[in-house]
């Protein structure tokens, strides 16, 4: 009886000791773990980010023009199945199809599927396919493919490009744009907001006026002007970098404001005064006291501003002011959705929209969860 009591006490003691010696990061993580929505968001986010990074491997074909399927333009999704009238098989398969332009349907494509057993095309895993470069090394193995012909699980677009491959690549691009934009915004915000918040006084007033001025710049006209300004000769990649940088330059005021507020509060804390009374210089105080005190908040701010970057880029690309083909992002893919033809006949074009919504929501949930968890020292009673 006393033994189990002792064990309980020991376990209790260990838990308490762990709590007492937990660093800020560990405390935040513990609190974060308790929130289901946030954890689910984190999982989904991790999944999406990994799919974006490993997109070339996970998708069967090259998402650019080079990998298009001339025989299957605007094709409906091929969903693999395991069983049909001809019996079941362990390997998933799709049907063969034959496409002809038919007079009856006004020269639109008509697809005839052949559901016979011999015409099955089996899905194979780890096949050879189009070449791609990853981290400087050339690969050609893809996660899955089909033994004959091509498989398009999300269908194809008007030029025959596989939508699934394009979606994963688009996630990659959107995340890349977001990262560059957030990074630039963050560096600028840290510098300007930091100086503003730490020194206060007239420096603060002047910098705040500049910040507010930049914040009031209307983005749509700005981008229209920029879009007109971008020379045609620039490659898609250069254009991509340019858009990301501009997004960063436009997005820093909000972050700068937050950094400044955090600093203004923190530098009046008594422990900062205690450090100053020891003779600590500004650098030491910023490094050891101020920065750690708001690192958690800044991370939250960063995570929350990410979806805004992605949204901005998507919106701009959608109206044609942002990225253009062949650089592929979710906004670019959505550009093609804007005709009645697509709405009525090729609904699979909308599949990327769900990915987009999921990505933004995942960021938002994780950001919210982080924000709730980031104050382990405050008492919040629900």
């Amino acid at each position: 009886m006393t033994d189990t009591a002792n064990i309980d006490v020991n376990v209790d003691q260990k838990l308490k000791e762990a709590y007492f010696t937990a660093s800020q990061g560990q405390l935040i993580w513990t609190r974060f773990k308790k929130q289901t929505a946030a954890m689910v968001g984190l999982g989904v986010l991790a999944l999406l980010i990994l799919s974006g990074i490993f997109a070339p491997f996970l998708t069967p074909y090259d998402p650019t023009i080079a990998g298009r399927n001339k025989d299957y333009m605007n094709g409906a999704p091929n969903i693999p199945s395991f069983c049909d009238d001809n019996g079941c098989s362990l390997r998933p398969f799709i049907y063969s199809y034959d496409r002809t332009r038919s007079i009856q349907t006004n020269f639109r494509w008509v697809t005839e599927t052949d559901t016979s057993l011999e015409a099955r095309r089996y899905v194979v895993f780890f096949t050879q396919g189009d070449k791609f470069t990853f981290a400087g090394i050339n690969f050609s193995t893809h996660l899955f493919g089909v033994d004959k012909g091509k498989i398009h699980i999300f269908g194809t677009d008007s030029t025959g490009k596989d939508i699934y491959s394009r979606t994963l690549q688009a996630i990659n691009t959107s995340l890349a744009v977001g990262t560059i934009g957030v990074f630039i915004a963050f560096v600028l915000a840290l510098m300007i907001g930091g100086v503003s918040g730490y020194y206060g006084g007239w420096i603060d007033s002047v910098l705040q006026m500049i910040t507010d001025a930049v914040r009031t710049i209307p983005t749509i006209p700005l981008f229209m002007a920029l879009a007109a300004f971008i020379p045609e000769t620039w490659s898609a990649e250069t254009r991509f970098l340019f858009i990301s940088i501009i997004l960063g330059f436009v997005g820093w005021p909000t972050l700068a404001r937050r950094v400044r507020t955090h600093l203004l509060t923190e530098r009046n804390q008594e422990y900062v005064l205690a450090a100053q009374l020891c003779g600590a210089r500004a650098g030491h105080i910023i490094r050891r006291h101020l920065l750690p005190s708001f690192t958690s908040y800044i991370i939250v701010d960063l995570v929350i501003s990410f979806p805004y970057m992605v949204l901005s880029e998507t919106a701009l690309s959608f109206i044609g002011l942002g990225l253009k083909d062949p650089v592929n992002s979710l906004g670019v893919m959505l550009q093609q959705v804007t005709s009645a033809d697509v709405l009525l006949n090729y609904q699979w074009y909308f599949i990327p929209v769900f990915f987009f919504i999921t990505l933004v929501l995942a960021f938002v949930f994780v950001g919210d969860g982080l924000r709730d968890a980031a104050d382990p020292y405050a008492d919040t009673k629900k």
């Binding site: 800020q24 008594e270 009374l277 020891c278 003779g279 005190s293 020292y377």
Partner: protein, 331 residues
């Protein structure tokens, strides 16, 4: 009789108020006005007052954490002498090694993201007082033991500790650089009574052990009576009375001191308290009354009190009062 550690003469700290007037001199808050005291080496000097008395500002001015507008303040510990208002750069840093502050709020005074060991070690590292990590660790452990902090708790973060324990960490941090002069600003005000006694005893034992000089700022007269050798009373930035503790409590001379003492509720239910209960409110520091600052509430105010500010007059051994009528009221 050795030279006092701290001597101030007509020390004043004024803060500008955001000007409401376009013309004329900018209004100021005279947080501390014309305070002249001397603090003996090795003594426990108490400074009492209510809100707006300027006691906190005075303590901070002595540490150069508040700007000194006028007057002089000198620090002299036998090895060095510093003229406090003009201290700069290296001298200021040297002074900071010898004079430290213990804060009131144990929850705000410790950096929440540093371990206790790092918090206590910080002054050593910033001031460059130790040469190696081992040396720092040894000194940290020494001072932690003196402050009765469990050595196993050094790896913990502040959120693991109660108010009393945090205050002990605060004290350890102030003591680790082996200063000579400590300003304890309401250091026990935020603590429960049972913990308060513990911390006070600790301060007293450390003072005797390390030969420190304390400036103990408090609004609680009973605490000051128990622990201080000498007490100074402030009202609205001015020094109204200063005397050795026993003398001040046995025979207060200034009407404010008398009122302050009689306002303390007695633990005896049948002792209804005698003397004056003060009417009215403490005047605002931005708009003080003319003449003696206490005249608006003083039951003995006469014409001269409304016109002229009384100077500190020397009454007896170490006992000074700033009141026009102290002699007549002494009966």
């Amino acid at each position: 009789m050795s030279e006092p550690l701290i001597t101030t003469d007509d020390l004043s700290v004024h803060f500008p108020v955001r000007g409401k007037t376009l013309f004329g001199p900018a209004p100021v808050v005279r947080a501390v006005e014309g305070v002249s005291v001397h603090i003996e080496r090795g003594s426990f000097f108490g400074l009492v007052g209510e809100s707006g008395s300027g006691k906190t500002t005075f303590g901070r001015a002595l540490l150069r954490a508040a700007p000194i507008t006028r007057g002089s303040a000198t620090y002299s510990d036998g090895d060095v002498t510093y003229d406090l208002p003009s201290l700069k750069d290296d001298d200021l840093r040297e002074y900071r090694k010898r004079a430290q502050l213990i804060f009131q709020d144990p929850y705000a005074a410790l950096s929440p993201r540093m371990t206790v060991r790092d918090i206590i070690a910080e002054p050593l590292e910033v001031m460059g007082l130790t040469k190696s990590r081992d040396e720092t660790d040894t000194r940290v452990r020494e001072i932690a033991k003196k402050c009765r902090i469990n050595l196993e708790h050094l790896r913990r973060f502040p959120h693991a500790f109660s108010g009393g324990q945090r205050q002990r960490i605060s004290i350890a941090r102030a003591l680790v650089s082996e200063p000579r002069f400590i300003v304890a600003d309401e250091s026990v005000a935020a603590l429960d009574v049972s913990i308060q006694a513990d911390v006070l005893n600790l301060l007293k034992s450390i003072q005797q052990d390390m030969g420190l000089t304390f400036l103990f700022i408090s609004h609680d007269l009973s605490v000051v009576a128990h622990i201080c050798d000498h007490v100074a009373v402030m009202y609205l930035g001015r020094l109204v009375e200063t005397a050795p503790t026993r003398e001040l409590f046995a025979a207060p001379r200034h009407p404010y001191t008398k009122a302050l003492l009689s306002a303390i509720p007695s633990l005896d239910p049948d002792d209804q308290g005698n003397v004056q209960k003060l009417e009215g409110e403490i005047p605002s520091p931005t708009n003080p009354p003319p003449g003696c600052k206490f005249q608006t509430r003083c039951p003995h105010a006469i014409d001269i009190c409304r016109q002229e500010e009384p100077k500190l007059s020397h009454m007896g051994f170490e006992h000074d009062v700033a009141c026009h009528r102290w002699e007549e009221l002494a009966e």
